[in-house]
């Protein structure tokens, strides 16, 4: 029964996504979704997640404007693969398929622009330190790159190239720096405090609209999270809550600051995970903005939903390793 429910869920999810002729976005959630924690040498982790980002809030700085005529949505399918090469070194790849839409409802008229396709990917090499901050603590650092697999030449129904924000890709290599710190405590070993920092140094697309250049603003994200583990009705669950700070610099077009881009955001992310099996974890989280301070006037996230499955394939134990 359980397998059947799981199969149905995945099946309907994929059906829904394949029908989703969606359009615009606030970007593909690359930085949000990298950084699987290492387990042990030889472990392979595979994640498949769906991310829905809804932007329907128009801000001027911190001021929310009374205008909900503009809707931007990004649907993303995210595939993570992490392999722990050694006890300390692991490598992670994040691959995306993205569907973006921009829908404007004004004057009894609705206008839609949309694009979809394979998005950019991230490759991250990570190093693990144990007990850096005392017993039961972990520190992971990583460096990687965003690989420009996505198209930047998608057009609308009239053959006009969509602007950078609506393209599945960026046509640039970015540098990605990542750290993940966590600590468990003796008073409750299942309780964990963690923090993740991500910095993305973006490259410049020198072929934007054929003869311009475009650079998305460098981006910094910091998370502070709290996780615990409970047994509920014989199921192991991990409720968590984290707080996210995101800073994005202004984009640059032909070398000049592009106004009405960039800003600062703080959000809270309740998360719930459940172990279907010891090596299959279902998780879902919703990101709710607490504070948005955008440059100029911008659509800013209204909410984001991420849900999916993580599979852990542990290495086969050598009989000689078992004492």
């Amino acid at each position: 029964m359980f397998k059947r429910v799981l199969f149905c869920f995945c099946f309907f999810s994929l059906i829904s996504l394949s029908n989703a002729q969606t359009c615009c976005s606030g970007g593909i959630p690359l930085s949000n979704n990298i950084g699987l924690a290492p387990i042990e040498k030889g472990t392979l982790q595979l994640g498949i997640h769906y991310d829905y980002n809804n932007l329907n809030t128009l801000n001027f700085g911190t001021e929310k404007l009374d205008d909900n005529s503009r809707l931007r949505i990004t649907h993303s399918i995210l595939l993570n693969a992490n392999y722990d090469i050694t006890k300390r070194i692991s490598i992670e790849g994040l691959f995306t398929w993205v569907s973006q839409r921009r829908k404007i409802s004004q004057f009894d008229n609705t206008n839609l622009e949309q694009s979809s396709g394979i998005g950019d990917a991230v490759l991250l090499l990570k190093y693990h330190f144990s007990n850096t901050f005392g017993q039961n603590s972990n520190l992971n650092i990583g460096i990687g790159t965003k690989i420009p697999l996505g198209s930047t030449t998608e057009t609308n129904s009239q053959g006009i190239i969509l602007n950078a924000d609506l393209q599945p890709g960026s046509n640039v290599w970015d540098l990605v720096f990542w750290t993940l710190m966590s600590k468990n405590f003796n008073f409750r070993p299942s309780f964990s405090v963690w923090s993740q920092l991500t910095y993305r140094n973006t490259g410049t697309n020198k072929e934007y609209l054929e003869n311009s250049s475009y650079k998305f603003g460098n981006e910094f994200q910091a998370y502070l999270g709290f996780t615990d583990q409970f047994l509920i009705f014989n199921a192991l669950t991990n409720p968590a809550v984290s707080f996210k700070y995101r800073h994005a610099e202004k984009d640059k077009i032909s070398g000049f600051d592009f106004d009405n881009t960039g800003g600062n955001w703080i959000s809270v992310i309740p998360d719930f995970s459940i172990y279907f099996k010891p090596n299959i974890i279902f998780s879902t989280q919703v990101e709710i903005p607490l504070y948005s301070n955008v440059d100029g006037i911008q659509l800013t996230p209204t909410y984001r939903l991420t849900t999916g499955l993580l599979f852990r394939i542990l290495p086969k134990k050598n009989i000689l390793d078992i004492k």
Binding site: F2, T22, Y52, F107, N163, N260
Partner: protein, 357 residues
């Protein structure tokens, strides 16, 4: 427990997908006239030079129910603030740049005022499309970084500075132009103290919103372009405001510096003679037809409606209307003209002549 979780989240997930209206395609979406412009792929301008500006169609909302206030009661405008002025059906109206920067189009009763903040160009078009009234909206597209409007009757796209429908059912049509001038608030209210002014309450934003300029240092930085311009002519500073007469796809440019303190010049361009009058804040031009070509003109603006006079004793307004004298009530013919940034004139009308004394 696991099954319950799966079912709950499965339902949430499916709802979230369906709430995005994901079965719509652009062609399914209604517009208010039932036309579908995507069926018409022909453009009079190179399609690879038509750019998606970013906000999308109607993402910059036109003002369709403008509200006005009397000039004497308005409190937001400073003397140096630029306005677009029009006299239509005997009524003087001013449309502040500060509002036009955010809305670009004002669909007034019979005239559409359209203004492109990226090229600094303003026009008045009659609200007539294909023989009946229509409003215009911001298409979200740009050509040479200049506004492309669309009409809500046929969904056709119109290039503002080309003054032509460039795509859609009305391709090749030209708008009927209503003469507008661009000047500062002090000049306008001196000439037309009983003018009404577009109110900030017309738009969807808070009143203070219009104190902000949406494009950063775009006006000051002559090399800052949001979209490429072809050809880019650097003879004058790119963002310098100039006045230009347009005649058969050619342009002649007049710099405000040539009119410091007031000037009235007779000039010829492309086979026609023109009277060009102005000062450092305002310029307008008129065709010198046979019945008035023998007159001598003199600038005489004294902060009233009278802007220049002739040796017959007639006084004329900046719109070319005789306000007193034997020709009182006569209107001079205004050519196609506009105020815009230099780069835009030079891009749309390559190789423009530049007036020099």
């Amino acid at each position: 427990m696991k099954k319950t979780v799966l079912v709950i989240f499965g339902i949430i997930f499916i709802i979230s997908c369906s709430s995005s209206g994901n079965n719509e395609t652009p062609n399914d979406l209604p517009n208010n006239n039932g036309n579908n412009n995507s069926a018409n792929q022909e453009w009079l301008i190179p399609i690879n030079e038509v750019k998606d500006g970013g906000p999308g169609k109607d993402g910059i909302a036109s003002i369709d129910s403008p509200k006005f206030e009397a000039a004497e009661f308005q409190t937001h405008l400073q003397n140096d603030d630029l306005v677009v002025g029009v006299i239509h059906n005997g009524e003087a109206k001013a449309y502040p740049h500060a509002i036009l920067d955010w809305h670009e189009i004002v669909n007034d009763e019979t005239v559409t005022i359209n203004y492109c903040p990226l090229t600094g160009s303003a026009f008045g078009w009659k609200n007539i499309v294909n023989g009946s009234s229509s409003t215009f909206g911001v298409s979200g597209l740009l050509y040479n970084t200049n506004l492309i409007l669309y009409d809500r009757k046929t969904d056709s796209n119109w290039s503002q500075m080309l003054l032509q429908c460039v795509n859609g059912n009305l391709i090749g049509d030209s708008p009927e132009i209503v003469s507008v001038i661009e000047t500062n608030w002090l000049t306008w209210k001196s000439m037309y103290p009983f003018s009404s002014v577009l109110s900030r309450e017309s738009g969807s934003f808070d009143l203070e919103h219009y104190d902000r300029y949406p494009y950063g240092n775009y006006l000051e930085n002559h090399n800052f372009f949001l979209f490429n311009v072809t050809p880019l002519n650097s003879t004058l500073p790119h963002k310098q405001r100039v006045f230009a007469i347009i005649n058969n796809n050619m342009a002649k440019v007049y710099q405000f510096s040539d009119f410091e303190g007031g000037n009235a010049i007779v000039d010829s361009f492309n086979g026609k003679n023109y009277l060009v009058v102005g000062n450092e804040n305002i310029i307008n031009a008129f065709e010198l037809t046979d019945d008035i070509s023998h007159l001598c003109y003199e600038y005489c603006f004294d902060y009233t409606e009278t802007f220049f006079k002739d040796n017959e004793g007639n006084n004329w307004s900046i719109f070319g209307k005789a306000t007193s004298g034997s020709r009182e009530g006569q209107n001079l013919i205004t050519p196609k003209s506009l105020v815009s940034f230099w780069f835009a004139i030079a891009a749309f009308y390559p190789g423009p002549y530049i007036y020099s004394e």
